[in-house]
């Protein structure tokens, strides 16, 4: 950091403390504050959204994985598919391959999900870094301006109270430079303040065209995913006997299981 930068920083630190404690009169701009608060709301929501979207992908993975594990367990009752003739286990090895297809479904989904949902959100959030830089800069300018203004006021007050001292030339000159400095600082502050006031709403309004496609993609990806899974499983169901679905719908499948249980009960194992 340069010497000037350091000096500035030290000065600002003092001014900031005075700002906080209310000793220093603070410049207020309602219009700007309004926009900044909206911007902050957007920032917070969008960052949270990004986090939850990542979380969603994880949940989807967990769900599919556990479905696969059930299928695996069921299939293994019929032996390990690795070392048997595939055709000996029509139904259940199909179950296993199908559920592996489900797993692949998640893998297929991931890149698209990343491209259209996760990464855009990440990108959107990365814009905030730049904007936040500008907002910080504005804060610094404001501090400088406020500090110098307060100083000037103090001197002016001192002058008006002790008017008997004849103003010497030095002081007049320093008054002038102070005036010029103050003006320059005010200008710098106003430029950046106005720029933000104008630009923040623009950025905020661009959020809709930016995020809506991601939402659309999000919905469509889910649709595609569940639909794919449905069809994979549906293929499997075709291989089950045609009665099964009917039975499932009418609750007959459960009755069948109950009948098996009744039969095994009839064996009277414990008795």
């Amino acid at each position: 950091m340069s010497w000037i930068g350091l000096k500035k920083a030290i000065n600002r630190a003092g001014a900031q403390v005075m700002h906080k404690t209310g000793l220093l009169e603070q410049t207020h701009d309602k219009e700007y504050e309004f926009e900044e608060k909206r911007y902050r709301a957007m920032e917070a929501a969008s960052q949270k959204l990004h986090k939850e979207l990542r979380h969603y992908l994880e949940t989807l993975r967990t769900l599919t994985r556990s479905q696969v594990s059930v299928a695996d367990a069921l299939a293994l009752f019929y032996g390990n598919p690795d070392d048997i003739l595939q055709r000996l286990q029509e139904m259940n090895s199909d179950n296993i391959t199908t559920t592996h297809e489900l797993n692949n479904g998640v893998e297929e989904l991931e890149p698209v999900y990343n491209q259209t949902v996760l990464n855009p959100l990440a990108r959107f959030n990365s814009y905030f870094v730049d904007v936040n830089d500008v907002i910080k800069k504005r804060g610094r300018k404001m501090l400088d301006y406020d500090a110098l203004r307060a100083k000037k006021h103090k001197i002016d007050r001192a002058k008006s109270s002790g008017e008997q001292e004849s103003p010497d030339e030095d002081e007049a000159a320093s008054d002038l430079t102070r005036e010029a400095d103050l003006n320059a600082l005010a200008l710098a502050y106003h430029v950046i303040n106005d720029q933000l006031k104008e630009d923040l709403p623009k950025l905020i309004n661009l959020r809709t065209p930016f995020l809506d496609p991601s939402f659309e993609a999000f919905v469509k990806i889910q649709l595609r995913f569940f639909n794919d899974n449905y069809h994979h499983l549906g293929k499997l169901q075709l291989k089950l006997d045609a009665q099964t679905k009917q039975d499932y719908m009418t609750g007959e499948l459960e009755n069948r299981i109950d009948r098996v249980l009744a039969k095994i009960k009839a064996l009277n194992i414990a008795g």
Binding site: R87, Q89, L261
Partner: protein, 632 residues
């Protein structure tokens, strides 16, 4: 001494033979060893099955009660966040009201009104609506799926628990057998030891040998009981387990399919409604197409934002013009964390049957005959061999005893053909002839609904109650069926029938524009015009009430009839039927077949009967199928 020793050696010899036989049976017989091996095999498999089933049960519970609901909950959370970003009153913050107030104060002083910041908010209402709709879609789905899975989880849990308890019983039985076997072997060993002594046995040892021998025998018996039981039961247990698991598999698949169908159906409906699928002929887009569409939608905005960001602060100029790619941008640390948490939460379970290749139910695996034909040129070659010769596969199926089926009952008489006719009889029996209707009500308006053409007897009865004369003139009965009018004319005295009555009736028939097709609904179809205390005129309570009125009326006019005996049990199928059991005496209150010749007289009809009882105050009354009764 010598004598004793001789006797003892005799005894020893005898015993030797006896024990040898037993020994032969249990230890030296190769079948026996095979049995042990087989039972051990079963035991292992059943243990694994219990574990596997428990795993499936728990995993189903997790999927149903945790993962699916969590997915939907997250989805809702996401859409809420989107709503906070894009929806109505998005980006509102705490204390925004203060700003609005200040603005109002400020703008009140101005001459030219400013646009209120609220109105400057950019809200695309279609986006808002889309988000809200998505929210309700997900809510609905969440509710439905949760309900479905709750039931499913319950069902699976209940049944798997039951199955497991049976399997555990089997394991206990196997263990019991092992214990008995061990006991037996121990005793056997002792006997052997005694017998191997070369010196003759003394008295005490003799006694011991004898007691051991009897013990051995009893142990062998109890062992054999268990052994036999196991050998009979085990193949059955495995068969049923096989069946159980197969059905369970089907159930699981169907449940998942059902949920997936539900989800994709709803999402598709939503997407179609909001035009997400437009331009693809309603087909689902591939992932690539989704990405492309997204890219074309977003690129303009992205460039705009990025150039704008570059203008205010160009610290990171690389960002601009860089495409958003599909790479996983998650930090490697996060990835690691995910992987760790995954291994913790993920519960995979391997069912390890002893026979890795064929699994637990190896001897039931059958090939499709068609496939075996293709493969081996023999459709019969569709069975893999059983792995053990003593395993009996050809045992008869266990039949759960059912209550003995009762002999088939005769079919009930048709109900439909009795429909229009009782009305005639009822009116004849219970009501005096209606006075001449005035012509105004007889003119039939073409807008009469078709069901007004045919009334139930009940309708007529109901009308009687209020005012007998209003049968025809009542505005809710603007028409009278043709049958009714004919009967009316036949039965009435000539001085009541004026010539123009016929003319007007026939005339109105000619005017009829709605075909008098009787409703195909069941006979107790109630006229919807009646506003009664019953809201639902289709409810059974309502019907029963009407039938009761009808019966009450018949009872007032008839004094009982012949008594018949029921030939079969009858439970009653429709409201109003009289249930009775075989041998009951039924008193026929009203038999339409006797009263009216129009009535179908083939003895297959519905009579009105009451249960005969000595106490005339307490009886039940209802419709009785005539072919269920026999003369006394």
């Amino acid at each position: 001494m010598n004598r004793i020793s001789k006797a003892s050696s005799d005894l020893k010899d005898n015993l030797k033979i006896a024990t040898h036989n037993v020994k032969d049976k249990i230890t030296f017989n190769s079948d026996f060893n095979k049995d042990d091996e087989l039972i051990d095999h079963y035991k292992h498999d059943i243990e694994k099955c219990v574990k596997g089933l428990s795993f499936i049960k728990n995993q189903t519970k997790r999927i149903g009660l945790s993962y699916w609901p969590r997915l939907f909950k997250l989805n809702l959370k996401l859409v809420d966040l989107f709503l906070r970003l894009l929806g109505e009153s998005s980006l509102h913050f705490k204390g925004i009201e203060q700003f609005y107030e200040d603005f109002d104060k400020y703008s009140a002083e101005l001459e030219v009104p400013l646009v209120h910041p609220k109105e400057r908010e950019l809200l695309i209402s279609s986006v808002n609506e889309e988000l809200l709709n998505y929210r309700s879609t997900i809510e609905l789905l969440s509710f439905k799926v949760k309900k479905d899975w709750d039931i499913h989880v319950q069902q699976v849990k209940m049944r798997v628990d039951q199955m497991n308890s049976y399997l555990k019983d089997t394991l206990k039985l196997i263990k019991k057998r092992q214990v008995k076997q061990l006991d037996y072997n121990r005793t056997h060993h002792k006997v052997d030891k005694l017998q191997k002594k070369n010196i003759p046995l003394d008295e005490k040892e003799h006694e011991k040998l004898n007691s051991l021998d009897s013990k051995l025998k009893s142990q062998y018996d109890s062992f054999e009981i268990l052994d036999n039981k196991l050998k009979t039961i085990l193949p059955h247990v495995l068969t049923f387990l096989d069946e159980f698991i197969e059905d369970l598999t089907k159930l699981v698949i169907c449940q998942q399919l059902h949920t997936l169908e539900e989800v994709s159906k709803r999402l598709k409906h939503f997407s179609t409604y909001h035009g997400f699928l437009a331009g693809d002929n309603g087909d689902l887009q591939s992932y690539e197409a989704i990405a492309n569409k997204w890219e074309s939608a977003i690129t303009g905005t992205r460039l705009q934002i990025e150039s704008f960001i570059g203008a205010i602060n160009s610290k990171n100029p690389d960002l601009i013009n860089k495409e958003i790619d599909e790479k996983d941008k998650t930090l490697s640390a996060t990835k690691m964390w995910n992987k760790v948490s995954q291994t913790v939460t993920e519960r995979a379970h391997k069912v390890k049957p002893k026979d890795h290749t064929n699994g637990v139910f190896n001897d039931y695996l059958a090939l499709d005959p068609l496939k075996s034909f293709l493969e081996y040129n023999d459709p019969q070659k569709n069975r893999s061999e059983t792995y053990h010769p003593t395993r009996k596969v050809d045992i008869d199926d266990i039949i759960v005893s059912k209550p003995p089926a009762s002999p088939p009952l005769p079919p009930l008489p048709p109900r439909s053909n009795t429909k229009p006719l009782p009305m005639v009889i009822a009116s004849k029996v219970t009501t005096p002839l209606p006075p001449i209707p005035n012509s105004q009500s007889r003119v039939q308006s073409p807008s009469v609904p078709k069901y007004a053409q045919f009334h139930d007897p009940l309708d007529l009865e109901e009308e009687d109650e209020d005012d007998t004369s209003s049968i025809i003139s009542d505005s809710s009965f603007p028409s009278v069926s043709s049958i009714s009018s004919e009967v009316l004319i036949q039965n009435s005295t000539p001085n009541l029938v004026e010539r123009d009555l016929t003319r007007i009736y026939n005339g109105s028939k000619n005017e009829r524009q709605v075909a008098p097709i009787p409703d195909l609904e069941p006979k107790h179809d109630i006229h919807p015009y009646h506003s009664d205390i019953f809201d639902k005129t289709s409810s059974i309570t309502y019907k029963l009430n009407r039938i009761n009125n009808f019966f009450g009326r018949i009872l007032d006019t008839t004094n009982g009839g012949k008594k018949l005996i029921a030939k079969y049990d009858f439970d009653g199928k429709e409201p109003g039927d009289l249930s009775f059991s075989k041998g009951d005496v039924i008193e026929i209150v009203c038999d339409f077949q006797n009263i009216d010749t129009l009535y179908i007289n083939d003895d297959k009809n519905w009579l009105i009967g009451r249960t005969s009882s000595k106490n005339t105050e307490n009886f039940r009354m209802g419709f009785v199928p005539s072919n269920y009764l026999a003369a006394t």
